[in-house]
Structures are given as structure tokens and as C-alpha cells.
Symmetry: C2
Subunit: 658 residues, 2 copies
């Protein structure tokens, strides 16, 4: 069989496996795999360095199918290249309960994927973070003769990916940062779900990407494998610019619906599948992999060789640079120092009040000394979020060893890059903005959670306590929004000491993201009780035979303490519970929870935000003091008074409850 | 005084009022007003058609300060041009409780503003909607000799606005749609909060905008009023392209911090103010408006003349086109037909089950016949969200009379455009996507609420019931997220009849946005009870001496009914409450609420989503059946079983509670 023939047969195997999978599920997207199979094949067969037997191998190239709805494309590639897990049966069970082939690629669920994709724009955006991680770790750890970090990062994007706003943020960031080893292939089929793209779009994408500093190449015929291969080769030679390769394709190639929206998101039907196979000259039964294709595409051997070569280099590196290798091992293992809590700053009770954002800045700087993988930045608010690692250097175009990234006013792109930094491995990314602008990055926060990535979100200016900037900048609904995300931890520390504990919790939690909600305003220092914070909630101040439990978080904890004192003067015994993290408290055993929130004792919760999350803890007969409206523009002190966050009001509410 | 002198004096009046305001508040952003005062002056003095005595005048030009932190610029302009409300005292009370001068411009709060701004990128994005509204209403209602809708829409944007992802979505949309009367001025000062922009950005913004089809002009000297004026004139002549004018400015012009990040967001200090005034050659006391500037800039007279001229044209129009004028009046008044509920489709109990998204599509089409202002579209999901107005025509570049917009895969830009469409007046916009992708548009949903704009969000595929697309597409946290936004209504109807009522509620609610959460899957038809739905929750099926109340929304209501039947067989009397809208139910009087949720009767809530919002209704001793994790990829029926949305599980939970 000639090389051309085996190539073509391989491409058609990918295509037919994909449409067979969609047809078996009677659900899914046949159009993109049919059109993009050639570029998928070329990337995986001719370029991608990976090891099917050990898909987590650190030295591998990264590949993210940003157009996640084309998932059968990557499942077919995984099967054909020899993923032990991705059997033919899995392809047959596309989109079924428990299969390794869910509707969209799920990173944590299926081996061989580098990211979860489906929410458009984010796959490609995460590759920017992956390329940043590669450049950063290379700058810090590569030494002459030891290119430990030296991989390409590929992504296939659809028209929808390019229309999303995040594409602007991430492409601008990648171009600015001159991420030369990042290569995006645009599946340029001119068709989207509703319509041919011309009804929704007229941009000159090549010109746009050039405006960001990208190299842009064009493949005129998306079925011409040599043309695709040459373009990728050319992209690889450009080390100073990321490259966009626009590959002109036909959606649903070979099918009766080729070139139309109808090919996008519905199974072709038995007849359509038959017609497509006929057009492709394919006369095998469903789910057939011709033996010569299996032999040709199986990457087991070459993958093992890639890794062996890399491992050999690592051995040499360990010998030549033992200290550096030791640090690198700790980074890659995301190892935390045993004495973490000793490293954290401590604040004396009754000392000068400190804004938790400022405490957070001090904690970050203390942690940065002992957690070398900690790096990140903010969306142009570092001066406000206090996220700068002071002696960490700047991460700049062409100079990647710095640990402080200027993400620009690009919250969503930043958070997606944070996911990419984390997915790459080793890095413990932190990303920062105002809590209210968590809105802008919410889709990436969700993907942090779905992918179980330990990204730390530093979200400051966490209530009306930010004062004069007014309602557009005062979070009300954001804490509820973040707490509703499964697997995420949201921690709102009450003071500087709780902030230190919160950061430790964030680093110790490796099953998802942590959002730290920090105050702009100074808060009194409370007794240090890391053990209590780490249980999510604890009794901060008890009172014998408490008639009421005041539960609060963040800046409202001090108000609860003052209110308890005032209540005591009126003969009402109140316990004060600080509840910095509901998710963690919920996970404690019943007896601990009951010891903090004693059953049948009335409860009043206080948080200057949406009341929604608090009813779970208050129960019947209690009350929540929160925000029912947006805030207002005025000095913080006045706002707290006007919106009822005063001792007088808490006392009044408690009396009402009792 | 020469013309040049009075111009310069006026510009410096704007500048000094602005820094005096910031200084008095000891809070705010002096840099942008100092740099952008010349362009603000030119737009307002030489071009903007508005009437200070009647700022809501429909025929006015629109102006949106997208860089909302420069709010003192627009407050100064409002004062100088004669806003009756914007007194000098208000300027002195910048950022104080109850003032008309909040930290960022608040549309509903201060007269003369066309939008609330501050969250970057969104101001400009809303102007795209405003320009769309103008083009649309012009296409439908203008007649020869009667250019009722014929205004320009201006916006001033900062570098941060341009970095935000939404800028890509909205600029691409505006360029695609050839919105020729949209003019953006870029306050191009090369400085952002953290840094000079060069550390965060290297894009060629002009090239990017040309890639979208915009005309791009450049003003080399942002202090040169003639150059700015000429550029705007040139922009106005181009009717087929929106125009970006890049105006090179110096942030903090005249101040000791000019040209640096330090000038961005902190008061200059008394000394800095003094030095700035010296540099500007200004030797008046604080908050001085020279009499000649007041006389020169006051727009009361010319504003009244503009409106009088327009009103005269309207009189002629009414005479010449009485029917059209009548329809237009109804549109502008957002008038609803008296027989709204008769117009709505009705579905027979026990009839063929209907997905609420499909019912929604039928309702939209019924409403479109009687609500001519209803228009909108989806983010490339119209086939799935069923948001197409079937005989409404397409809104396309150069052809704006159609009511169906192809927003592209631009959720956030779409929602911001929805806000702009609504703010313009008359239009009742609807925007659609999958519920899970409400994440992408959350910041605009919040601005719908802050601005109290009646935008209807059609959010389909509202639970794991969407099935095979899997966790990235299955909303869990989104209902909690939306319900936490003050002033927004979130309605999740249980069937086709509730969907009709929900749409009526959405149109009748004019104080904020409504999100409709609609199912992908078919749902059984329940008895039509619009009155009940409109109270937010109602007893759908009662049971004498009910021992337990099952509360549910959407697709889980039928499950609650089936469970009540099963419980009855076991001798447990259960009431079923359908709760499509918590916000509306919360606003009912206590006696109604108690009649639905009888105190001291145990409650179990069921919703296939985050449990967070339900604890408010369940109270102590009850239970919530919801989702604690993300979903999975499988057919819907299997997912509901696996995640516990079965009669068996509900019965089990109820028994546990009792």
C-alpha cells in the first residue's frame, strides 16, 4: 500500500469511526470530525509526541480539541493510536453512562485528553496557559543540553471558538507573550449551528490574528495532507510567534449534508451514514479498523521511545543538576512543605486591623518562598488585589522566568490560562480580580471545578465594604454563584489569621479550585485558629447556654462578635460561629457540625451578600441578615449602616427571632 | 474671548471640576477625565443632540462612557450643559450616599445617562445594541420625509474596554452589521491600572478593527479639538461602517502623575490638584465654572430646539401615517395587548407532552404578532432554543427590518446588545442560549438587573435532562447564580401552560430581566393555572391533611406529582407545589405564602440543580433533592435515575423526613 493510500485510509477510518459512533448513540456531531479528520490525523500521526501507555508523561506535546463537540474525532484518534483504555467498545458506547466517550471530552474522565472542552473558546484559551507553563518551566529549569520542557501545544478550533470573546483575550495574550510553540488549527468550514457563518460574521480572522502578533498560514484544501503537514512544519520554525493555521474544510465532508448547518449537530441517519461511506469509498461494516491502519497509526512503540529518550535526559539532568532537579520534582509533585503553617504569617489579636487582601498579599509572598510552583497574576488589578510576588520577577514576552503575569483586563482569558497552567502540571496558579468580576470569569471557574484543577482565585473587594465604587463594583450575587459550583471551595476569611489558614487550605485542596473572598477594608485581628478554619466553620466565641447562634463570614464576623457583646448586656447569650467555608463545613461529620450549630438553637446568619447560601445553615425560625438589593456608592461605613450591618440591627433581628 | 479660548477654557473647566470632585470624595479616578476631557467636550459641544430638560427624548443621540470610572467627566458635562438635576452641589458630593454622582455612572439613578457603566467592555457593547435598535426602528418606522429614528451613538472607551473579550464580540457584530452611525472614541493613553499597556498588550487595535469591517481614524493629538472634530465629521459621513477613532491622549494630563498608572485611580491629593491647576493655567477656587463657560456650554436652548423640531416632524408623521404612528406609539410605550392571556397558546391536560423550549417557541410566535417590539435572537442556537420569530424576517447587514438577529456564538455580546436594545427604548429584546452558557453572559445579566431593563433571557436545555452532551453542557449552578441577582426574575416553568404564563410574566415585568429556564425534553401537560404561576408558586395538587409538601420546579414537577401518587398509595398525604419563580413568590403576602407552604408541615424540594436556593423554602427538618455534583453524559432518562430523580427516591426521602 502506498503512503498516500494508507494516509487516506487512515483519515477515512477516523471519519467512519466518528460517524458510526454518533449513529450508534443517535446523538452527537458528525460534521466536524468528517471535515477535520485530515488535520487531526496529520497532527497526531506526523507531529504529536505522546505515549499512549503513559498519557500523563510530562514531556509530551499537548493537544486540545477546542471544538469539543467533535469529540468522536479525538476518541477515534485515541483508539487508533493505541490508548489501552479507548477500546472499540468504548467508541460503540459513545455518550452512554459510564463510557470513556462522553458527549464532550472530559479531562478527568478519559485518559489521553489534555483538557475538558465543549464550552466554546475555552479549549484554545487553556492552551495559552499550557504554553505559558511550558515557557515558564523551560526558563526556570531547562539547562544546556537538557531541554526538559520543550513541547508544542496544538489546538483545533471551530468558527464558534473564534467568535467567543475569550478568543480575543487569549489570542491577544498569546501574541503579546510571543508563545512561539503554540499552534492553532482553525477548522475553517464557514458553517455554524444556525447558519452559514456569513450571516453572523464578516471578520477577516487572519488580519485579526496578525493584529495580535500571530503568524497566520493558510491551507487551501483541508483534505490535502501534505499541505497541512507543510503548514505545521512552517509553524514550528517560527519560535517568536504563535501560529494560526486556517484550514479550509467542508463540514460533514462526504455526507449528503456536506457544507451545511444540518451536518453540524445531528446524526446523519442510517441512510446518511451509508451514503457517506459510499462517497468515501468505504465498504467495511460499522466500527471497522482496517488492520493496516491499526498497524500504521499505533503509537505505542514510538510513544515509548519518546518517553524513554526524555527519561534518559532527565537522568542526565538529575546527575548534572541535582538541586535543581530536586526542586523540579517538588514542583511537579506539587509538594507542600511539611511546616506550611509555620511559614504563614501570624497576626496578634487586637493588633492593628488589616484588610484581608493585604494579609493575602503577605501570605502569598511567604508561600512563594516555599512553593516554587506558585505563580500567576491579576487582570490588571495587582495593586488592588495584592497578588504580586515581590521578588518573583515579571513574566514578559521573551522572558518567561518571572512568576508575575500581566494578564491585562482579561478576566476570562486569565482564568482559562490559569486552568491551562494547572493542567500542564506543576504550576500552582493564582489569578486575581475583584470579586464582582468573578462574573466575567465564571465559565472558567466552572471548568476549573469540572477538571478538578487547583487554581486559586484571589477575589478582593468582597462586599459593599469596598465603598465608593458603587453597585457595579460591589458583589452581592457572586458568593452564591461561586458556592453553587460543585467541587469548588469558596473561603471568605474573617481576618488576617483566617486568611493565612485559607491560603493553606487552598494549597492543600487538590480536587478543585478555591476562591478566596478578601476585603478591601481593614478588619480586626481575631485569635489564630487554623484548625477551626480548616473545618469550614468553628465556634469563635461561645457563651454558656447560648440562646442564639450568630453565624457570619468575612467582615461580618467582627460585627457578630460586637453584637454578641451587646446582646450579653441585654441578658441574651449568643454564640458566634465563623463560617469561612461552607463546602468544607458541610463535609464534616454530623457530630462536629452539631457541636458548632447545636440543633434547636435559633440561628441568625450575617453576610453582606445574597442571602441564598445561608438558609441551609439557619433553618426554620432563624433569620439571615444579607443584601436584598444592589449596593450604592458611598463610604463603606455609611453603606454598612444603611444596609443594616450594625450592632443595633443584629440585636433587633435576634430579638425578633427569639 | 476667541472661540479657541472659550473651547480651551471649557475643556479645563471639565478637567478641574473632575479633579475637584475626586479630591472632595478623596476617592475616584482623575486620570481619564483629565486626558479625555477634550474629546468629551467636542462630542457633547459640537455633535451630541440632546435636551437637558428632557433627557429621555427619543430622538436624541446616545452617548455611553464605557470607561465608567471616568464618571466625573460625564457628571461635569451634565452639569455644564444644563442638567437641572446635576447641580454643582452634586459634583461636590461625588461618591456620597444619595448623591446623583455615584462612583460609576448609574443609568436609573442619574438623569442624562444612557447606560450604567463601569464593568469594562460592556458600555461600548451596549451601544451596539442601541445602534441596532436605531437601525431596526428606522427600517420599520421611518418614512420618506420622516426620519424619526436617525441618531448617532457615541462611546468613549479605554484600553481596558478594548482588552475585554466582549469587545471582540461586540465590535465584530457591529462591523458585520455595518452599523454606520456608531462611533467609538478610544481614549488611547497607553496606560492601564497596573502598568503601561506595553507590558500587557501588543495588539494593533486599528488593524483588529479593520478586520471586523470598521473604519479606523486616528487623532494624533488628543488635545487638538479641531482634529477630534474633523475625525468625528469624517466618521459621520461613512454610513456603511462603524468608526473607531483612536485619540492619542495623556492620562492625567496636566497633573504631576501625567502619563503614569499612578494617575489612574487615586485622588491627586491637594498638592497634586494645585500643581495640575497651575499647569493648566487655572486660578479659580475649587468647583468654579467661569460664567462664559456656563453660557457657552449650556445646551438648554439648543436642546429644546432639537426636540421641538423632532416633535414637529412626529406631528407630521402622525398625520401622514396614522396607523404606523399608532403602532409606533404602542412600541415606544411597550404597551401590551389587554387580552394577552387569550393570545397565548393553551395546551390540554394529558395531551402530548411538549418540551418547554418548544412551547416557548410557540409562545414567542404568538406574542410576536401582538407585541411588535419583540425581537432578538440567540447565540447561534436558534434551532435549539426555538427563539425564531417565524415570519419576522432576518436582521442582516444593510437590511434591518427583520426581527431575528444572528448574534453568532457571542453570548456576552448578545446579552449586552440586548441591554442596549432595551435601553434605546421600545424594543422588548429576547436573547437565547443554553442555560449553562448563562455563565458566559452573567455580567450582562447583572447589568440588565442593575439598569432594570426588561430583557428576556431564553435559557433552554435547563438540566441534566439535556442528556448526552454531558457535564459541560448540563447546568447545575446556573439557576442559583441567576436567582442570586437582585431584581431579576428566574422562571422555570413545569410544562407548556406554565411556559405561556411565564412569558406573560416576563413581558409584564418591567423592572428587570427575566430568565426563562426551559427544558430540552418533553414534559407532560398540567392544568393551565396562569394565576398560580403569576404568584410565583401555587398548590398544584392538594391532599387533605397533607403531611408533607413536595415543592418542585420545571421538569421535576411531574416527578413530584407521580411521587405524591405513590406516597398516597402508602398512606402518606402529600401536597404538590409548583414553584416556577421564587422571587415573585417571595414578594407575595404572608398569608398567601402560608397557604401554599403551610407552616410546620414538612417539606421536600426537588430540582435537578444546585440545592442552594431551596433551603429557604424547606426549612429545618425538610430535605432538598438536587445535584451535589456535575452531571454526566448519557441519555436523560438514565441520568435522572442515576442522580436520584425517581419516584422511589423521592418516596424514600419523604419517609426519611417524616
Amino acid at each position: 500500500m502506498t503512503e498516500q493510500n494508507i494516509d487516506q485510509l487512515s483519515v477515512n477510518t477516523i471519519r467512519t469511526l466518528s460517524i458510526d459512533g454518533v449513529q450508534a448513540a443517535n446523538s452527537g456531531h458528525p460534521g466536524a470530525p468528517l471535515g477535520a479528520a485530515p488535520m487531526g490525523y496529520v497532527v497526531w500521526q506526523k507531529f504529536l509526541r505522546f505515549n499512549p501507555q503513559h498519557p500523563e508523561w510530562m514531556g509530551r506535546d499537548r493537544f486540545v480539541l477546542s471544538a469539543g463537540h467533535a469529540s468522536m474525532l479525538i476518541y477515534s484518534l485515541l483508539h487508533l493510536t493505541g490508548s489501552p483504555e479507548m477500546t472499540l467498545d468504548e467508541l460503540k458506547n459513545f455518550r452512554q453512562w459510564g463510557s470513556k466517550t462522553p458527549g464532550h471530552p472530559e479531562f478527568f474522565h478519559t485518559k489521553g485528553l489534555d483538557a475538558t472542552t465543549g464550552p466554546l473558546g475555552q479549549g484554545a484559551a487553556m492552551t495559552v496557559g499550557m504554553a505559558m507553563a511550558e515557557h515558564h518551566l523551560a526558563a526556570r529549569y531547562n539547562r544546556e543540553g537538557f531541554p526538559i520542557f520543550d513541547n508544542y501545544t496544538y489546538s483545533i478550533l471551530g468558527d464558534g471558538d473564534l467568535q467567543e470573546g475569550i478568543n480575543h483575550e487569549s489570542a491577544a495574550l498569546a501574541g503579546h507573550l510571543k508563545l512561539g510553540k503554540l499552534i492553532w488549527l482553525h477548522d475553517d468550514n464557514s458553517v455554524q449551528l444556525d447558519t452559514a457563518t456569513f450571516k453572523a460574521e464578516s471578520e477577516d480572522t487572519a488580519e485579526r490574528f496578525r493584529s495580535y502578533g500571530w503568524e497566520v498560514l493558510r491551507v487551501q484544501d483541508g483534505n490535502n495532507l501534505a499541505e497541512i503537514e507543510n503548514a505545521i512544519k512552517q509553524a514550528q520554525t517560527n519560535k517568536d510567534q504563535p501560529t494560526l493555521i486556517q484550514v479550509k474544510t467542508v463540514i460533514g465532508f462526504g455526507s449528503p449534508r456536506a457544507g451545511t448547518s444540518k451536518a453540524h449537530g445531528e446524526p446523519l441517519g442510517a441512510e446518511g451514514v451509508a451514503e457517506t461511506k459510499a462517497a468515501l469509498g468505504w465498504d467495511y461494516p460499522p466500527f471497522t479498523v482496517p488492520a493496516e491502519v491499526k498497524a500504521h497509526m499505533d503509537a505505542t512503540e514510538r510513544g515509548a521511545a519518546y518517553e524513554a529518550e526524555w527519561n534518559k535526559m532527565m537522568d542526565g539532568y538529575r546527575a548534572a543538576h541535582p538541586d535543581l532537579a530536586g526542586e523540579l520534582d517538588a514542583v511537579l509533585a506539587r509538594q507542600l512543605p511539611a511546616n506550611l503553617s509555620e511559614v504563614l504569617p501570624s497576626y496578634e489579636v487586637g493588633g492593628k486591623p488589616v484588610a484581608t487582601r493585604n494579609a493575602g498579599g503577605e501570605v502569598i509572598n511567604a508561600l512563594a518562598k516555599v512553593v516554587p510552583g506558585l505563580m500567576g497574576g491579576s487582570a490588571d488589578l495587582s495593586g488592588s488585589t495584592k497578588t504580586t510576588i515581590k521578588d518573583g520577577g515579571e513574566f514578559l514576552p521573551g522572558s518567561y522566568e518571572g512568576r508575575n503575569v500581566y494578564f491585562g483586563v482579561r478576566e476570562f482569558g486569565m482564568a482559562a490560562a490559569g486552568n491551562g497552567l494547572s493542567l500542564y502540571g506543576g504550576i500552582r496558579p493564582l489569578v486575581g480580580t475583584f470579586l464582582v468580576f468573578a462574573d466575567y470569569l465564571k465559565p472558567a471557574f466552572r471548568l476549573s471545578a469540572i477538571q478538578m484543577q487547583p487554581v486559586t482565585y484571589v477575589l478582593t473587594h468582597d462586599s459593599i465594604g469596598l465603598g465608593e465604587d458603587g453597585p457595579t463594583h460591589q458583589p452581592i450575587d457572586q458568593l452564591a454563584m461561586l458556592r453553587a459550583v460543585p467541587g469548588a471551595h469558596v473561603i471568605r476569611p474573617a481576618d488576617a489569621n483566617e486568611t493565612a489558614a485559607a491560603w493553606a487550605m487552598a494549597l492543600e485542596y487538590d480536587k478543585g479550585p478555591t476562591a478566596l473572598a478578601l476585603s478591601r477594608q481593614d478588619l480586626p485581628i481575631l485569635p489564630r485558629n487554623h484548625a477551626g478554619v480548616k473545618k469550614g466553620a468553628y465556634v469563635l466565641k461561645d457563651s454558656e447556654n447560648a440562646q442564639v447562634i450568630l453565624i457570619a463570614s468575612g467582615s461580618e464576623v467582627s460585627l457578630a462578635l460586637d453584637s454578641a457583646e451587646a446582646l450579653a448586656k441585654e441578658g441574651i447569650a449568643a454564640r458566634v460561629v465563623s463560617m469561612p467555608c461552607m463546602e468544607v463545613f458541610r463535609a464534616q461529620d454530623q457530630s462536629y457540625r452539631d457541636s458548632v450549630l447545636t440543633p434547636n438553637v435559633k440561628r441568625v446568619a450575617i453576610e453582606a451578600a445574597s442571602k441564598q447560601p445561608w438558609y441551609e445553615w439557619v433553618g426554620s425560625g432563624g433569620a439571615v441578615i444579607g443584601m436584598d438589593t444592589f449596593g450604592a456608592s458611598a463610604p463603606a461605613k455609611i453603606l454598612f449602616e444603611k444596609f443594616g450591618f450594625t450592632v443595633d440591627n443584629v440585636v433587633k433581628v435576634v430579638k425578633g427571632v427569639l
